[in-house]
């Protein structure tokens, strides 16, 4: 059986080149034209960035709407967006624009922020590398995950959902090769709702679930 290759990833944020947005209307204008990497960063990569681990929402647009635009309705609508439920970034962009347009039509005054609270549009350079670690059997998976960096957890468990096989983490995809004996384990991993966990918490959760399935 092919061993599991443990990868790691780290990112560095950079300015996208777009001007910052100081109002909901400006946010709409920028979201409509920004690159896919920008949307990707603000929806998917927030967990990997040096930042506080316990925001109310896990995408930057929802956090900004709540903390700076002071629009809890918009924050809730952005906050519930699950980026992994969209087949493409364009589809996600379309839904975001619909939410903003709907909000703009119901508000009498376009919400804006004071100086210092603007939304900055970022993207990131991500470096992915092979750690040299290999996992040879399902029984070794839990202890190996416990030793992983949060970057490895992000790469193999969260970001994996966007790679083939789409919608599945790398651990489950590897366990598939071991047949029916790992099915309970894969089901345990599948039902982790990672939207509300920090990467460290997710690592612990994966280990606990694997251990509970005697792996």
């Amino acid at each position: 059986m092919t061993p599991f290759v443990v990868m790691d990833c780290v990112l560095l944020t950079r300015m996208s080149g777009l001007p910052e947005a100081a109002s909901l209307r400006e946010l709409r204008e920028r979201v409509a034209v920004c690159g896919e990497n920008v949307l990707y960063h603000h929806f998917y990569e927030t967990l990997l960035r040096p930042s506080f681990d316990y925001p109310d929402y896990h995408n930057d647009f929802a956090v900004w709407a709540k903390l700076h635009l002071a629009d809890p309705v918009l924050a809730e609508r952005f906050g519930v967006l699950d980026p992994y439920a969209f087949s493409s970034m364009e589809e996600l962009r379309g839904v975001m624009l619909d939410i903003i347009d709907e909000r703009l039509t119901t508000l009498t005054v376009v919400p804006a922020v004071s100086r210092g609270s603007e939304f900055y549009f970022f993207e990131a350079d991500t470096v992915v590398f092979d750690t040299g670690d290999r996992i040879c059997s399902p029984a070794d998976l839990a202890p190996a995950v416990a030793r992983m960096t949060t970057g490895s957890v992000f790469f193999h468990f969260i970001e994996a959902h966007r790679r083939d096989p789409v919608g599945m983490d790398d651990f489950s995809a590897w366990l598939l090769h071991f047949g029916e004996e790992t099915s309970a384990c894969r089901e345990a991993l599948r039902t982790i709702d990672f939207a509300f966990l920090t990467l460290s918490e997710l690592r612990s959760e994966i280990c606990e679930r694997l251990a509970a399935q005697c792996l």
């Binding site: 780290v10 990112l11 950079r14």
Partner: protein
């Protein structure tokens, strides 16, 4: 003793160090040259004094060069520095000629090293013109701006922009500090060194001695703000907050800042603070020498609550220092303090003395909550604002610009 990564493993964690080693391994042997204008004194020299040895420890061929100039050069670069921060300054043609002449003279000496390097990191504006003087350069050049240049005095920026736009990339500490440039602009937040005199663990007897030395009562809560005497740090607002708290709690306040200064406004603010504190033996205004790092460290550690009630702030490393010492921080709702202080988790953001007083009272009353917030604060800094994260981000940048790829994802 030269610093090594091993020394940081206990603070930063094994996984973080291992990650750095793997990133460094793939850059092994690469020649990296940092250039700035001073070997000692100031934040940039402080950063390079740990960063260069740690890069070497990771296998990079890293070195640190310092340009040399006479007094008139530093007068001009001080004006450039002030101009970039928005102060209207007049830099004559002769001044710019001095700037270029000193860069030319340094280029003569440094050219072989710089042109041969894989990566050159130029810190701040003083050595920025070296780029144009190293026509045979084979590596990538990065300009690292350590200051806020977002609202510059335009005549100064117009000239400097013609110089820095030629770089392959630039680095800013915060997005709010940057201006548009025709190359990638990376964001690398500052960090603290957990083993420095300012941040290392101190023995309890040293804390007791500092407490006794300043006449602080160990049986009553202590509020501490460490910052220079500057209106933007709002020391008078801190005294107002302290007075509001004192109506219900027998607190003490320490306002600790730099010593004698040639900044006339600093002296004026200090006088105002002394006047405001006069007659209250529980307000301790401490004028400390610039090298009183251990004393500052001890004061932050004996504090119950650390305050940084700034009205305007850059990143706010004194906040990071307080959080690292396991203290919730009451911080002004501005600048980089917003990135560090999260209500009910690592402290509270406030906008007024009344707001500060309200949150201080909350923390002093909810001691268990205060303790758990302090623990979370320390872990928050461990994950995000130690020098190991800072170093990691430089390594990512090096991988990224050396790859020459325009793709956001680089496999190494």
């Amino acid at each position: 003793m030269e610093k090594s990564l091993l020394m940081y493993e206990a603070c930063a964690g094994t996984a973080a160090i291992r990650q750095l080693r793997m990133l460094g391994e793939k850059l092994s042997g690469r020649r990296v040259v940092h250039v700035n204008s001073t070997r000692e004194g100031g934040g940039v020299a402080e950063i390079l004094s740990w960063m260069v040895p740690l890069m070497r420890d990771l296998g990079l061929d890293a070195s640190w060069e310092v340009i040399r100039g006479a007094g008139d050069f530093y007068s001009v670069t001080k004006s450039i520095h002030n101009g970039l921060q928005g102060f209207p300054v007049n830099i004559s043609q002769k001044g710019w000629a001095t700037y270029h002449a000193v860069n030319r003279a340094n280029a003569e000496a440094l050219r072989p090293t710089l042109e041969d390097a894989d990566i050159v990191v130029i810190h701040d504006p003083q050595p920025a013109a070296l780029l144009q003087l190293c026509g045979g350069r084979r590596g990538k050049w990065v300009w690292r701006a350590h200051i806020d240049i977002s609202h510059p005095y335009l005549p100064v920026w117009k000239t400097l922009r013609t110089i820095v736009k030629g770089y392959d990339a630039s680095i800013f500490s915060m997005p709010q500090f940057a201006l548009p440039l025709p190359h990638p602009q990376y964001l690398v937040a500052p960090s603290i060194d957990p083993l420095s005199e300012k941040n290392r663990d101190l023995p309890p007897e040293e804390l007791d001695a500092v407490r006794a030395g300043f006449g602080l009562d160990p049986s009553r809560p202590l509020l501490v703000q460490v910052s220079r005497f500057d209106r933007f740090k709002d020391p008078i607002g801190v005294i107002e907050a302290y007075r509001l708290v004192k109506k219900v709690q027998p607190v003490q306040l320490v306002l600790a800042g730099g010593g004698a200064t040639d900044d006339p406004e600093g002296e004026e603010v200090l006088r105002e603070v002394m006047d405001a504190a006069a007659g209250d033996p529980d307000i301790h205004v401490l004028l400390l020498p610039p090298d009183a790092h251990r004393t500052i460290n001890a004061l932050q550690r004996v504090a119950d609550v650390v305050i940084q009630k700034s009205l305007r702030e850059g990143f706010g490393l004194t906040v990071t220092e307080g959080l690292w010492k396991g203290k919730p921080v009451i911080g002004g709702d501005t600048g980089g303090i917003r990135r560090q202080v999260v209500d009910y988790h690592t402290g509270f953001l406030v906008n007024t003395p009344e707001g500060a007083a309200h949150r201080i009272r909350f923390l002093l009353y909810h001691r268990e909550k205060m303790r758990s917030m302090g623990e979370k604060a320390r872990e928050f800094v461990r994950e995000n604002f130690l020098l190991t994260r800072h170093l990691r981000e430089y390594l990512i940048l090096f991988h990224s610009i050396l790859s020459g790829s325009s793709e956001p994802r680089i496999y190494v």
